[in-house]
């Protein structure tokens, strides 16, 4: 037991190595020839503004992840249906979302809709919809792979047991599929959390947008953006740890 704990601690400490490059960068300023003097004290007075942006980033992430996951279930069902017109349509949609840059999708939603179709949406709503549609496609693919990884005997056993389609899904297939894909879902959510920073390009005041505003007005982009990065990291990192734990636990469970 003791060895196990100590190994775990060591294991966790290893992640601190990730911070070495940043430390090295900071170290350069004192020893290297181009002398740059870091002024992190500038940051403190702008922290409230950054946190305000963070609030929007978190809300946006939460809404997009939950709606995207919900939509993803139906998209996955459409992707797997035997009715080919729906399947082709949904597959096309997924490939479009996966194969084009998210930034371009945001621009389509924000400018494209208003210029081409005359639909005026507020920036936040437009990018919220675009991100949701984007991430729903990824969630759908995760769900599909989760469902398709389940042995066919499971579908057949549930069928033979006399369970109808919805009960089969509810009691037998989805719980297993969800466990299988949970690490992937968390990983996608972490990516999305960082990708929400793209909304700053269309003027939505998230963490990144506020960071950039502060950076230009203080002429201290390195300090400010490093702070922004640290905030993103501190939120994303615990989820990465949870994901690793889950992956290990899942590989021990279910044969």
């Amino acid at each position: 037991m003791v060895t196990r704990t100590s190994r775990l601690t060591l294991h966790n400490l290893r992640y601190l190595l990730l911070l070495l490059p940043a430390a090295g960068l900071a170290g350069c300023s004192s020893s290297g020839s181009p002398t740059y003097v870091w002024h992190f004290n500038v940051v403190s007075s702008y922290l409230p503004l950054l946190f305000e942006g963070l609030r929007l980033t978190l809300i946006l992430t939460l809404v997009v992840v939950s709606v995207g996951m919900f939509l993803g279930i139906f998209i996955a069902a459409g992707r797997m249906t035997k009715f080919w017109p729906v399947r082709y349509l949904v597959t096309g949609y997924i490939e479009l979302m996966r194969g084009t840059p998210t930034l371009v999708q945001l621009v389509w939603a924000y400018y494209g809709l208003s210029i081409l179709l005359g639909i005026e949406l507020s920036g936040l709503i437009a990018v919220g919809i675009a991100l949701t549609l984007n991430v729903a496609a990824f969630f759908a693919e995760a769900f599909r792979s989760g469902i398709q990884s389940i042995p066919k005997e499971q579908f057949e056993s549930a069928d033979v047991l006399g369970l109808g389609y919805l009960n089969r899904m509810r009691y037998v297939i989805v719980p297993q599929a969800f466990r299988n894909v949970l690490p992937v879902l968390i990983s996608l959510s972490i990516s999305l959390f960082k990708d929400t920073s793209l909304v700053s390009t269309v003027g939505v005041a998230d963490l990144m947008y506020n960071g950039r505003i502060v950076a230009t007005s203080t002429y201290r982009p390195l300090e400010i953006l490093t702070t922004v990065a640290v905030i993103y990291f501190l939120i994303a990192f615990p989820f990465t740890l949870v994901m690793r734990r889950l992956e290990i636990r899942l590989s021990h469970h279910l044969t």
Binding site: P151, E153, Q154, E156, S157, A158, D159, V160, L161, G162, L163, N167, Y171, V172, P175, Q176, R179, H253, L254, T255
Partner: protein
């Protein structure tokens, strides 16, 4: 083979004197099935009487599993008739696209259960949940009722202390016994066993076979696809030998296994028994 003991919950066979004894449990007529261009079943006729224990033997790829799976409506058939408990279950006339299901299709299908070689149990549920899911959701039993029945069945298959355990914590033999118990919980009249012992370590085979033997003695109608010749000889009422999608020979075990008439049966047996 059959003996009439006092009625027990897992005892689903009828008394020998009732009319149901005369009605065949399963009747297959002219069954044809192919996967794409590969013909798997060629015009198969087979009747299983109520309470009868059938052992289906034959080389791999001979269509044994497909026969069971098609009879259980897990595969669609190309043509043929399947009757369950004396009434039409699935019918497809040759050359037609339409598969006709008989009256009470769902209820008829519920009379039959199947145990696979692998993955029959639901791995995310405890054994007791595996056993109570069907009775509660499909048969409409109360939780108390389903639990009591499941516990009784677990004692029956020798897994009394395993009710709160997950399938991954059981040995292969225990898993198969639990899977059989789950089918019994659904009050099946007929069970298919699709090579249930083929993936087991040799020392685990007997515990599963003894549960099957016990079922046979208690009047369950059974169709067992098996490579266990001892089981076929000792427990089956009839042995069916299949090859290349056809029933080549069938009859009492003494005849088919010991004095086979057909050349192909003889060849197969000489390979298997050594």
């Amino acid at each position: 083979m059959k003996s009439n003991e006092t009625a027990k919950p897992w005892q689903t066979g009828n008394d020998d004197m009732t009319p149901a004894r005369i009605t065949p449990m399963l009747e297959i007529r002219g069954l044809c099935k192919s996967f794409k261009s590969v013909v798997v079943l060629k015009n198969v006729d087979l009747t299983v009487k109520t309470g009868e224990v059938l052992a289906v033997i034959g080389p791999s790829g001979s269509g044994k599993s497909t026969l069971c799976r098609t009879a259980m409506a897990l595969e669609t058939l190309d043509s043929g008739e399947i009757l369950v408990d004396g009434a039409p279950f699935i019918i497809r006339k040759p050359g037609t696209k339409q598969i006709v299901t008989g009256e009470n299709y769902c209820n008829r299908r519920r009379l039959m259960g199947i145990v696979f070689q692998h993955f029959t149990l639901f791995p995310h549920m405890t054994i007791i949940d595996n056993l109570t899911l069907g009775p509660r959701k499909v048969l409409g039993q109360s939780k108390i009722e389903a639990l009591a029945q499941a516990r009784e069945l677990l004692i029956r298959v020798g897994l009394r202390d395993k009710e709160n355990v997950f399938p991954s914590q059981l040995s292969g033999g225990q898993r198969q016994r639990a899977a059989i118990a789950r089918e019994l919980a659904m009050k099946r009249k007929m069970l298919f066993f699709d090579e249930v012992t083929s993936a087991l370590d040799p020392e685990l085979v007997n515990e599963v076979l003894s549960v099957m033997k016990d079922l046979a003695l208690n009047g369950m109608t059974m169709v067992a696809v098996t490579h266990e010749m001892a089981f076929a000889r000792n427990c089956a009422d009839r042995v069916v030998f299949m090859d290349e999608g056809q029933i080549i020979e069938q009859g009492p075990p003494e005849q088919v296994l010991i004095q086979p008439r057909e050349k192909r049966t003889q060849d197969f047996l000489s390979k298997v028994i050594n």
